[in-house]
Amino acid sequence: MSAGSALWLALGAAATLLAVAGEARPRRLPRVADLAHWWMASWAGRVALLAAWAEAGFHVFTQRP
């Protein structure tokens, strides 16, 4: 396994750990849904999220890796 692949695995594991910890202790750690809800509370945050979503879609489904 290359160092780069190991890095992505570690980042994925850390994200999973944070997400699970947030679900297990919702009053002490932010859940993923809480973070998204903070962005979605106003038009400004929601539009920013949608812009990032749209850009991600075009990048993933139309650009060559």
Partner: protein, 139 residues
């Protein structure tokens, strides 16, 4: 709406990345999602944009005043920044054809029609949730 989304996902799975209908399909999905967001969200936001910006800036200046929740948010920010920085290093510094960039990792999923269709469906689902979710009850 679910059937339409499923049909779009199937179509995206069948089409190649550089096929002519891909960009119009994506554009239609984005425009429809934005329109649904505006129509469904009139007078139903939980906070005004100005107040949200002010409170967010205040919280960002002193994240550790919010206890472990602040630490958790900082951890997520660090994770995202590390992922972005790593991808930039792989793309701009390493420049090897074997470098595990995010595009290459995701490309392994979108190379197959089924993976492409599933990822497109997940992308549509995420967009629908962002556009329609977490709102106050209708006035």
């Amino acid at each position: 709406m679910l059937a339409l989304g499923g049909a779009c996902a199937c179509l995206a799975g069948v089409l190649r990345r550089d096929a002519p209908p891909v960009r119009p399909l994506l554009s239609c999905c984005v425009v429809a999602t934005l329109a649904a967001c505006v129509v469904a969200g009139r007078e139903r936001q939980r906070s005004r944009s100005a107040a949200w910006l002010v409170s967010s800036a205040r919280a960002a200046r002193t994240p550790l005043r919010h206890g472990t929740v602040g630490w958790g948010v900082l951890a997520w920010v660090a994770l995202v920044l590390t992922a972005v920085a790593s991808d930039l290093v792989f793309v701009l510094v390493v420049k090897s054809p074997d470098a595990p960039t995010l595009s290459r990792l995701i490309g392994a999923v979108t190379a197959r029609p089924a993976g492409r269709a599933l990822l497109f469906a997940a992308w549509l689902g995420a967009g629908s949730w962002i556009a329609l979710g977490w709102r106050r009850s209708p006035p």
